[in-house]
Amino acid sequence: MNATFRAIKDNLVLYFFLFPMFLLVLVFGIIPIAGSILMSLTKSSTSLSNSPIFVGLANFKTIFADSYFIDSFRITLEFTAISVPLNLLVALLLALLLGSKLIGRGGVVFKLCIFLPVVVPIMATAVVWKWMYNTNYGAVNAILKLVHLPAFGGLSSTKTVMPALVLVELWKHVGLYTIIFLTNLQLIDKEMYEAAYIDGAGWMARTLRITLPELAPAFSLNAMYALIQFLKTFAVALVTTQGGPNFASNFVSYYAYSKFKLGDYGEAAAMGTVLFVAVIILTLLTRRISRSDDLERGMA
C-alpha cells in the first residue's frame, strides 16, 4: 500500500497528464456501458427516471422470445459471415494488384481511388448509394439496361436488399483492409522472393508459399477489424432501408435504435448488451485462432 502510494506521489505529473483521458473514458465510456447494462435490467417506462424499477432478466426473456429480434440477430450474423471473408479476399487481391511490380508509378493514383470511399463521409456515401439503387433516378439499373441485363431490385426487394448492402459496405470499407495488406506486403523481405525465383518457383508458387504465410498477421488484424465493423453495421441501414423492406435488413444495431426511438429503453439496452457480448466473444475467438496460428509458425 505504502509503495503504491509512493509510486503515485512520485509520478503525480504523469497522473495529471493522463487525467483528462481518464475522465473522458470514464464519462463517455465506462459509465455509459455500465449504465447500458444496468438499463437492460430495468422496466422501460422507468429506465430514464431517477428511480428505475429493476426487473431482472425480463428484457432478455422478451427479446429472445421476439422473433423479429431472432431474425435480426441472424441477419447480422449472416451479413458479417459473408462480408468479412468477401472484404478480406477482395482486399487481398487488390493489395496484390497494387503491390505488383508491373504497376509502377501509376499505383499512387489507383491507391487513391481505392481508398477514397473510406474517407468520404458515410452519410454522403450512404445517401448516394441509396439513390444509385433507385429504380427511377439510379445509375445501377441504367448501367444494367445499357448492357441489356435484367433490372436489379436493389434496396426495394427482400431478395436483393442484402446483396445490395453487402456491395455498398464492400465498396466503402475494402480500401482500409487493402492498405493494411499492402503495408504488410511491402515489409516482406525481397530476398525471399529472389531465392524462390532462382529455385524456379513461378508467380503462383511464390504467392502461395511466401506471400500468403507472411501476410498471416495482417489477416488476423483485418479479420478482427472487419468483424467489429460489420457486426455493428448501422448507418447504412438507417439511411438506405430503415431495416426494410419487410425487416429484411433489420440489423441488431438498427433494431435496438428503433426500440430506443419507441421508448423501449430496457429492450434496446438488452439488445445492445447481447451484441456487445457477441462482439467480444467473436473478437477473442479470432485472436485465439490467429495466435495459435502464429504459435504453430513459430514452432515449425
Partner: protein, 277 residues
C-alpha cells in the same frame, strides 16, 4: 520482354477499371448535382453534364428554415475544437502511458479504453444521452465536442510513435533536471511534429463524418453539422434529388480535397492506427 509488356498493360487496365468503379458513385453524385432536372432522367449515366446549373446549390442557402452558414459554422467549430481537445488529451495520455506503463492504475485505464472502443457505440448513445443530460450539456456544442474528443486512432498513433523515442534521450534530460512537462513540450513533442499532423488530419476526417452523436446530443437543429443536415434533408418526404446530391457534394468535397492533398500521410495513418470510427 514482350510478355511482360502485355502483362503490364493487362494489370493497368484491370486497375483502371477497378478505380473507375470505386470513384464512379462520387463522380455521379457531383454530376447529378449539376444537372437540370429534365436531364437527370434522360441522361442518368452522363458524367459530364450537357447543361450545367447551380440551381441545386442555390437552394441550399436555406435548409429546414436555417441558413446554410449555421450548419457550416457548426461543422467547422465542433470539428475544429474536438480535434484540438482530442489531440491534446490523447497525446498527453499516450505519453504518460508510454513513460511508465507499470504505474498503479495505468494498465487498468488502457483496458477500460479498449473496452469502450469495442462497445457498439450506436447503442452507447442512450446512456451517453443520460450522462450528458445529467451534466447539463444536452443540446450544447460543448457536449458534442467532448464526446467526439475520445478516439482510439489518435491514441494509438501517439502511443506507437512515443514507444519508438529512445529512452536514453528522455533519461538524459531527466538527469539534467528537466521536469516532465519540459521533456514533453521541448523534447518529445517537437520530434513528434509529423505524428501530430497525421493525428490532426485523421481526427478532422473522422469527426467531420461523425454525425450520430451530433444527432443524439442535439435538441434542436441549431447544433446540427453538415452531415446531420444531409440526413435531415434526405429523410424528408418531399424529395429534391439534385438538392440532396448537391448537399452530399458539399459534405464530401472538403474531405476529398484534404485527402487528395495529403493522401500519403492519411493512408499511412489509417494503416498504422488501423481502428476506424
Amino acid at each position: 520482354m514482350k510478355k511482360n509488356r502485355i502483362a503490364s498493360i493487362a494489370v493497368y487496365l484491370g486497375a483502371a477499371a477497378i478505380s473507375l468503379v470505386m470513384v464512379f458513385p462520387l463522380l455521379w453524385m457531383i454530376s447529378s448535382s449539376l444537372k437540370p432536372t429534365r436531364d437527370i432522367f434522360a441522361e442518368t449515366l452522363r458524367l459530364i453534364p450537357r447543361r450545367v446549373t447551380f440551381g441545386a446549390y442555390e437552394s441550399l442557402r436555406s435548409l429546414a428554415g436555417l441558413p446554410f452558414m449555421t450548419y457550416m459554422w457548426n461543422s467547422l467549430f465542433i470539428v475544429g475544437l474536438s480535434v484540438a481537445v482530442s489531440v491534446a488529451v490523447t497525446s498527453l495520455g499516450a505519453y504518460a502511458m508510454n513513460r511508465k506503463p507499470r504505474l498503479p492504475g495505468f494498465h487498468l485505464l488502457e483496458n477500460m479504453f479498449i473496452l469502450s472502443m469495442m462497445y457498439p457505440y450506436i447503442l452507447l448513445m442512450t446512456p451517453v444521452y443520460v450522462v450528458i443530460y445529467k451534466l447539463g450539456l444536452l443540446g450544447t456544442r460543448t457536449g458534442i465536442i467532448l464526446f467526439l474528443a475520445l478516439g482510439p486512432i489518435q491514441y494509438y498513433l501517439f502511443r506507437e510513435f512515443f514507444s519508438k523515442v529512445p529512452r536514453a534521450i528522455i533519461e538524459s534530460a531527466e538527469i539534467d533536471g528537466a521536469r516532465e512537462l519540459q521533456i514533453f513540450s521541448s523534447i518529445v513533442a517537437p520530434m513528434a511534429k509529423s505524428v501530430f499532423m497525421t493525428a490532426i488530419l485523421l481526427t478532422f476526417i473522422l469527426n467531420w463524418d461523425n454525425w450520430f452523436p451530433v444527432l443524439i446530443i442535439s435538441t434542436s437543429m441549431k447544433t446540427y453539422t453538415l452531415p446531420v443536415a444531409l440526413f435531415n434533408l434526405d429523410s424528408q418526404l418531399e424529395v429534391n434529388f439534385p438538392e440532396i446530391m448537391a448537399l452530399s457534394t458539399v459534405v464530401s468535397l472538403p474531405i476529398m480535397l484534404i485527402f487528395i492533398l495529403t493522401q500519403k500521410k492519411v493512408i499511412a495513418g489509417f494503416a498504422a492506427g488501423g481502428v476506424k470510427g
